[in-house]
Amino acid sequence: MEKRNAKAWLYLVPAILFLGFFMVYPLIDVFIYSFEEGYNSASQTFFGVGTYNYSYVLHDPYFLQALKNTFILVIITVPLSTGIALLISVGLSSIKPLRNLYQTVYFLPYVTNTLAVGLVFMILFKKTAYSDGLINMLINWFGGNSVDFIDGPYWAKMFVLCFYTIWVVMPFKILILTSALASVNEEYYKAAQVDGTSKFRIFRKITLPMISPTLFYLVITGFIGAFKAYSDAVALFGTNLNAAEMNTIVGYIYDMLYGDSGGYPSYASAAAIILFTIVLTITCINLLISKKHVHY
Amino acid sequence: MKIVLQNLTKKFPNRNKKVKGDVIAVNDFTFEIPDGSLIGLLGPSGCGKSTTLNLLSGLLKPTAGKIFFGDDDVTGLPAEKRGVGLVFQNYALYPHLTVRQNIMFPLENLKGADKLSKEQMNEKVLEAAKLVQIDELMDRKPDELSGGQQQRVAIARALVKMPKVLLLDEPLSNLDARLRLQTREEIRRIQRETGITTIFVTHDQEEAMSISDLIVVMKDGVVHQIGKPQEVYDKPVNLFVAKFLGTPPINVFHGKVEDNKLYIGKDVIFDSVNVDNKEVYVAIRPEGFILKDEGVLGCNLTGVEVMGRDISVVSTHECCENVAIRSIIDADNMVNVGAKQVRFDLKPNKVFLFDKETEERIDYQL
């Protein structure tokens, strides 16, 4: 038995080494960092222990800006993307011809590089000296005035960010919802149809309850994902997100760590732990609500 | 290869926390299996027969006792060093390998001096495949084979490395009725041809009786009887063995002996048995009945089932444990189906007496 024990551990050694070194240790370390005041990454020294890092971060206007942006992004994109994905999935499951084609097309954004395609969105929305860009052209056609979505007013930028974020997260949600819809037993629909139930009632009374676990899963992962938004913003507005007023919490963490404003792992750690706390709280609230409403 | 089990015991820790103590799956087995014989381990499910097989294969380690292959004590040897062939109930063929690759798999494990060349392996594989008559299916995958063919592949895979002992776990249970008959003959033939000591597990007494040299009847981890099939059938040591063997099952009556007379209800069955006065079970094999108008045992007739060569007379009796008494009678006999009563004489060698307390068989003479 002893020999078998040793052999099993041997198989686990690589995983334990990697996880220990790059996940468990950092996890402990990030808490330590966050309480080390005045840490200097060059000399690796610090003055004392306390909550100053947290108070600094929470009073930093850039962080507050990032916090606000992230919350707006979450509140707009999560319900909207889930709702649209649900509509599209229901539509998809109600058609037969071309269904595979639509599904394939809808999945494309999943396999694209967020940074690369973000550039396409940027040039679509950007207004420059020599061109208003395609979107502004459309707005002009409908009698509106040109807006610079990339370097212009806050809400215009926020609109593009939300739009791109939704574009990016849709494939996953559509895919998960269509497979959930497909797994609902056909016989329920037939039974309801024979009883003369209207389509809308079938959807509300049968389909929705049946897929409610999936919906809540998507909402929860959607919240978590949206709170960690970063690369979409970089793709649209460049790496200097603070200047563009479009930074996110994750962006703030990385800026604190590295780059022109970097070199402050303690502040970054404090911000990361604040983010983690927020995500954890929201997830717990979500789970509590889902316990009450999910029909399984 | 002769196999000897010595006080073999296997206990499992109890999963059910409410009950204390270990579960004894195999309790103090001692018996010897002669070289080159075909042994059937027989018993109802949960009697420990599969555990015994796993102890023999080395997949399980006994709690106590010893196992000898020939003169070698193999109790401590792990499965891979024992040189046994094992055929699983659901065959356990590797789904991604072809028949050929499946059969070759054990040979590829050989190392060092035993290592075979590619040609030798192919030859052995073909030989094993021919033995079980699947040499035409070599390049198919398991899921392209019927149940019977899969079974043959599994046997070939177990045989290819010339095991000292071949173990078969419920070899026929996954086959349909027709294939079952055919396959059990097949197993008998293969065993004869190879001469490998073979032990198989089954809960089907007919299966065990039909092909085994010896059968071992087990219940609740205890061996009840070991013997040649006919011997066990004709001289069951106790009520359980008597009930477990035979189709239709034996008919069990509550009876008693008084002044050397054997009673079932009010009927005197035998009027001079050399048994002390006591309550007994009277067990009568279905073929032990003779239809006779003035026979010793009267039963209430419920029906007659015609089965071609024989007929089965179904009747009831207030003293009978069975819901219905089944007696197998030659089809030449005429039964008045409209009658309410039917009377039988009994063949003494088909009538067993068992003690009410111990359920052991009571030897008696008329």
């Binding site: 950092p26 694209t112 967020t114 395609v117 396409v120 040039i123 996953f172 690369s231 760590l257 | 798999f105």
Partner: protein, 291 residues
């Protein structure tokens, strides 16, 4: 007669209604399809417009009559695009390969072997799934910097290897293989490692393919870690390479050439997707998340 239900009329009305609903469904689905596809169309269109014609269009045109491949040539010659692609390829292949080995070995230990503390260790592994990357990336950044591994492949790859979720996924799959196969192999004298190699891995190939594809997508598109750990252009991956282009390279002046670079970067995964469409979608449905 007047009271008789006109079934023909009801039938016709129901049919028309169905047609209408169907028409609206297709219309809306097509609109989303256009929203999804348009950026791809625009990126290809822009990449074949000549520099001059692109900049002369105040209102961008939806087609071009004189497509050119000059932009692609520019993208490869004026910026180290090939270098970025090669780096990403190396990063993706090596990371995925190491990940597979680590994942297979540990999933095997959890699914097949028995050892003291197995359940405890597995629970610990699972709980690591909840840890967001953002929390550990800070220390990893400091660690890699201190180890002097910035701007090396080792620094890029090592922290990207582990994937607890894939260990979980594969372990579940391994555990579905009937125990009899293992016992059969055991009786035949097969070693654990050979059983893993010859039986478990081939049987679980679909799951391994899924894991591989998901990891490849993840690696190909990873941005945050490469950005933190590389500032030498020779080690840029495509994501931070393209970002660099946008801010300091082609993006400033030559938009069509930049779009050509975007097309080149996007193409490998799109091709992979079109080949393994079913596998990828099934794999993502089983266990993928974006990011």
């Amino acid at each position: 007669m007047g009271n008789q239900v006109d079934y023909e009329k009801i039938e016709k009305a129901a049919k028309n209604r169905k047609k209408l609903v169907n028409g609206i469904t297709y219309f809306l689905l097509t609109i989303w399809g256009i929203i999804v596809l348009f950026p791809f169309y625009w990126m290809i269109l822009t990449s074949v417009k000549s520099y001059a014609s692109y900049n002369s269009e105040y209102y961008p045109k939806f087609i071009t009559l004189s497509p050119t491949l000059q932009n692609y040539a520019d993208a490869f010659t004026q910026v180290p695009l090939a270098q970025y692609l090669l780096n990403t390829l190396i990063f993706t292949v090596v990371t995925t390969a190491i990940m597979l080995v680590v994942v297979i070995l540990s999933a095997f230990a959890f699914a097949r072997l028995n050892f003291r503390g197995k359940n405890l260790v597995f629970t610990l592994f699972l709980s690591l799934m909840m840890i967001p990357n953002e929390l550990v990336i800070i220390t990893n950044f400091v660690t890699i910097t201190n180890m002097d591994l910035r701007n090396t492949f080792a620094g890029l790859i090592l922290p990207s290897v582990t994937s607890v979720f894939y260990i979980y996924l594969l372990k579940e799959n391994f555990a579905q293989i009937p125990d009899e196969l293992y016992y059969a192999a055991k009786v035949d004298g097969t070693s654990d490692f050979r059983y893993l190699r010859r039986v478990m891995i081939p049987i679980c190939r679909p799951t391994l393919v899924t894991i591989t594809i998901l990891k490849v997508i993840e690696c190909w598109n990873s941005y945050v870690w490469p950005r933190l750990i590389t500032d030498d252009e020779n080690y840029y991956l495509i994501s931070n390479g393209i970002q660099e282009l946008r801010e300091n390279g082609l993006g400033r002046e030559n938009i069509p050439a930049m779009m050509a670079a975007v097309v080149v970067i996007s193409l490998p995964l799109l091709v992979l997707f079109l080949i393994f469409r079913k596998k990828i979608m099934a794999g993502v449905a089983r266990g993928g998340t974006k990011g």
